[in-house]
Amino acid sequence: MKKSNIVLLVLIAVAIGVIVTVAGDFSTYETFATARQKEGKEFQVIGKLDTTKTMEYNPVKDANLFRFHVIDKTGETRPVVFYGTKPTDFEKAESVVLTGKMADGEFKCSKILMKCPSKYKNDQVALGKA
């Protein structure tokens, strides 16, 4: 067997090894219920902003504290604490992906990814205001 073929095989093995290792980093989109079962473990939860509850962000008191409520896929509403500023356009987000963990009945998250309504829906031209 040629040396380059051996190297090729070794590297393919390395590549597979790498992929298997890093695939351990992959997570799944979960619900508050699973996050509650394993308190303190980090999860990604998809949900919607609960617009019936108030949002709280007061930079004068604490610039790194933003509280709101999210309804997850199963319909469970939870208070959420985000340690950062309130993201722009947060109210308009169609859905949010929260990365964080459950503690004391609150979901404490360090990252928010917002899914904004597709540009298309906004494309409809409303002429009422003209």
């Binding site: 590549a15 980093d25 989109y29 004068v60 790194n64 340690y83 992906v97 031209v125 003209a130």
Partner: protein, 836 residues
């Protein structure tokens, strides 16, 4: 009933759409004719097919330019009857951003790509010679597909492409709306939707053309490789393909890094690279292209690695198409912050990918036995062997990045094939929670190996290297690099313990690898090439690459957030269990109130707007003082800015501002500002009964009642003869160790009525009233109010990026190296043609 619409400009649209369709048809004629020209046996037939093909391609190119011109004309004149114009521009958009509008959307960017293909094609007509026909056949076919993205015609009930000249009133989402039937509807459409605020940036004008030239140019190595397979001239194609592939690697790399520079300078991802799927998708083809360039060189000088060269050039273009699919099909919606919106063309994009990948790889497999190979095994001490290894390492890097980036695709496949049910999986796969760490911990090892190879491999000779030769030559650069690394390690204070000792160790090794790559290649110019700069393109490019690695390493490992909010740290936040999630990276700055941040005292000094500019600029003053005597050592002002509203809606779109030093950048951007027109102040006064010496706490500090002062002097209080006045002498201490004196006054006028004169600390919005004296308890009543709503403040983040200039300079050096190599290869090719 047909409505006769008033005021529409239909001509540019008609010309534009006609040109788009013409380009599509002409590209078909060109590709078929070029194909026939290659397949024909007789020279006469070959030539006549080629002649047809040439004309068809020229017509195609003219039509593409005409499409471009028409769309630009409509944009320039604000013809909002066109949906594309309405959607992506507005009247107040500066003319300089019109091009940004042009390629802000799918159709425009396809058109840009198509233009570059046309330009490259016209060039190939001149320089292609005998390779013209087979190469242009592939290029023309690509033009057929790109053209099809723009025609927007229904074929067999399936809408092919999206017509950028679609009229607003004919757009699907507006059908049935009442205004559509209105003949003078244009009177009501005064302005367009406008360009996305984060795209209103000069980088958006210059980055896409370069990046798309990079995309467009990857088809040339692909087409040459395919032509080689197709015409069974397995070796000859590499000579003309080499300068093209160098060019392509250079432009694509530049385009990607311009995107990084844009992200760094104007966007608020907090840096130049975020491992976002869109970034990854364009990086991966660059990696495989660079791998291909290296195996090509290995083949050219040793005869080995020809098959892998085919593979790498094929996979590069296929990955470009895959990245196009990822960013344009809407599949990345959940995972990326900046992909295009779905135009419903996923099917078309998949077909495009299949059309180019299946024939090329199929032909490679079918004809693999015909591809010449060297029977003799390569020596371990040969350059080609290690070039090949390096290429495979790059491939591993590409595989890992692609694997993670494709998570949304895996989800689609898993759902589509019903595998999810099979394994009882309930949830979709999500990308790693800490994406940057996920990529960094793998890619750093790849960067280490690549860095080391970059340093060493030039010192090896093709075929075989005498052992003494290699060790003798490599010794000095190795020792120098070790010394430099140790110096940087000790004095540069490179410690990155955030993720444990494993990554820390890797960072030290990578530090050496990247220094080694720089030093090794810089010295090779003198050791290996005896200072002949003309032939040193590769060494120069590799020096640049080493600098890029070094710059990335230092700026990321030593990146420091200085805007840490230390005020709330003591109440449980910082040392508590929440400290990991709550890194307190946002700092609130009240107006005119210095706050300590790292080595600096930072003051928000107000905001300003300029006429004709939609942005608000914030003045942030930085001051660095000598800790010993308080003298100002350094002073500067940054102007981070932000769009505060978008079409009347409250929205913050910030752009950072940086202070550049040779060795570091201080990078500042706004993360929140108060909504100024909010309803009136709702804060209430709170009463405190205190005796002298007592203190009262408020949100930002506390105040001590030092004593009572008869005959008080307060700028708001004018003493009158019959006043019996007392002032409460207060000392205010803030959490920032700032001190203020307050003297609210209580006075009994004419023995009958009370006059209360409050005092304020305006930067704190602190209002203090002295409202009563309680003689029995020897106390007074103090009323304190902190207003939040009237307060003017900003919330910002600030980072220090050390040695980021090494990265930018490295890119520049790399580009120069590429240009030197290209010039050298083109010259070499020319002189050989003249000789033969």
């Amino acid at each position: 009933m047909d409505t006769k619409y008033i005021g529409e400009h239909l001509l540019p649209g008609q010309i534009g759409h006609f040109s788009a369709v013409l380009a599509f048809v002409a590209a078909m004629v060109a590709s078929v004719s070029y194909f026939m020209s290659v397949q024909s046996k007789e020279d006469l037939l070959k030539d006549s097919w080629k002649k047809i093909a040439r004309w068809a391609f020229i017509i195609q190119a003219i039509a593409v330019f005409s499409t471009f011109g028409s769309l630009y004309y409509a944009l320039y004149n604000h013809y909002f009857e066109y949906k594309y114009v309405w959607r992506n521009s507005s009247r107040d958009l500066p003319v300089s951003y019109l091009l940004a509008s042009f390629w802000a959307d799918q159709e425009g960017s396809f058109l840009l790509w198509s233009i570059w293909h046309s330009v490259i094609g016209l060039l190939l007509l001149r320089v292609g010679k005998k390779w013209e026909a087979p190469v242009m056949a592939t290029l023309s076919l690509a033009q057929v597909f790109l053209g099809s993205m723009l025609i927007g015609i229904y074929i067999l009930g399936y809408r092919v492409g999206s017509n950028p000249f679609l009229l607003l009133r004919l757009a699907e989402e507006n059908q049935g709306l009442p205004w559509v039937a209105n003949a003078n509807y244009l009177d009501f459409i005064k302005d367009g939707n406008g360009l996305n605020l984060s795209l209103q940036n000069y980088w958006m004008v210059i980055h896409p053309p370069v990046l798309f030239l990079g995309f467009a140019s990857t088809i040339i190595p692909f087409a040459y490789a395919f032509a080689g397979l197709w015409t069974r001239e397995y070796k000859e194609w590499i000579k003309p393909a080499l300068p093209w592939s160098l060019f392509s690697a250079m432009i694509l790399g530049t385009g990607i890094m311009m995107g990084a520079a844009w992200a760094y300078e104007s966007l608020t991802f907090g840096g130049y690279w975020a491992w976002d799927p869109v970034e990854n998708a364009s990086l991966v083809p660059w990696l495989t292209l660079v791998a291909g360039v290296h195996t090509l060189l290995a083949f050219k000088f040793s005869g080995h690695a020809l098959k892998s060269t085919f593979f790498f050039f094929f996979i590069t273009f296929v990955l470009i198409l895959y990245s196009t699919f990822l960013t344009r099909s809407g599949v990345l919606g959940d995972t990326s912050v900046h992909s295009f919106t779905d135009l419903g063309m996923s099917g078309q994009l998949l077909v495009l990918m299949a059309v180019f990948s299946i024939p090329s790889f199929a032909l490679l497999i079918i004809r693999r036995k015909e591809i010449p190979t060297v029977v003799k095994e390569e020596s371990t001490y040969s350059r080609e062997f290690w070039l090949f290894i390096g290429a495979l390492i790059l491939m591993i890097s590409a595989i890992q990045i692609t694997f993670t980036t494709s998570i949304p695709v895996w989800n689609k496949i898993i759902n589509g094939l019903g595998i999810k049910k099979l394994f009882g999986l309930e949830q979709d796969i999500a990308p790693p929670a800490d994406g940057a760490l996920h990529f960094n911990q793998i890619q750093i090892w790849i960067a280490i190996v690549i860095g080391l190879l970059t340093a060493i491999v030039q010192y090896l000779k093709y075929k075989d290297t005498p052992k003494g030769f290699f060790t003798k030559k490599i010794a000095i650069p190795t020792i120098i690099s070790l010394v430099i690394t140790i110096i940087i390690g000790i004095f540069g204070d490179v410690n990155y313990v955030a993720y444990g000792p494993g990554l820390q160790y890797a960072i030290y090794v990578m530090l050496f690898a990247s220094v080694y790559a720089v030093v090794g290649n810089a010295m090779y110019i003198f050791i290996g090439q005896k200072g002949k700069l003309r032939a040193a393109g590769a060494s120069v490019a590799h020096v640049g690459f080493g600098m890029v690695l070094l710059g990335i390493l230092i700026s990321s490992a030593k990146k420091e957030v200085i805007s840490i909010d230390r005020m709330k740290m003591l109440d449980g936040g910082f040392f508590g269990k929440e400290s990991k999630e709550n890194s307190r990276e946002n700092l609130m700055l009240p107006k005119n109130f210095p706050v300590q941040m790292g080595d600096y005292h930072v003051t928000y000094a107000g905001d300003s707007v300029a006429p004709g500019d939609a942005k608000t600029y914030y003045l942030v003053r930085y001051e660095r003082r000598d800790p010993a005597n308080g003298n100002i050592l350094e002073k500067f002002t940054l102007h981070p800015d932000a769009f505060l509203s978008n079409k009347g809606q409250q929205q913050l779109t910030p752009n950072p501002d940086s202070r550049h030093y040779l060795t570091k950048d201080i990078f500042t951007y706004i993360t929140a500002v108060p909504i100024k027109d909010e309803a009136s102040d709702t804060a209430q006064y709170k009463s405190h009964e205190i005796a002298p010496g007592d203190s009262v706490f408020f949100a930002n500090g506390y105040m001590i009642l030092e004593g009572l002062q008869p005959q008080p002097q307060n700028r708001n209080y004018a003493a009158q003869p019959n006043d019996l006045a007392v002032g409460a002498q207060l000392k205010v201490f803030t959490k920032n160790n700032e001190q203020y004196n307050l003297l609210p006054v209580y006075s009994l006028r004419d023995n009958s009525y009370e006059v209360v004169v409050p005092d304020t600390v305006s930067p704190l919005s602190l209002y203090v009233k002295f409202s009563k004296i309680l003689p029995k308890e020897k106390k007074i009543v103090l009323q304190v109010k902190e207003s939040d709503t009237f307060k003017d403040y900003i919330v910002m983040k600030a980072f220090i990026f050390p040695f980021i200039n090494v990265l930018w300079l490295g890119i520049l050096v790399m580009v120069i190296g590429f240009i030197m190599s290209i010039v050298q290869r083109v010259k070499a090719n020319r002189s050989k043609t003249i000789q033969s």
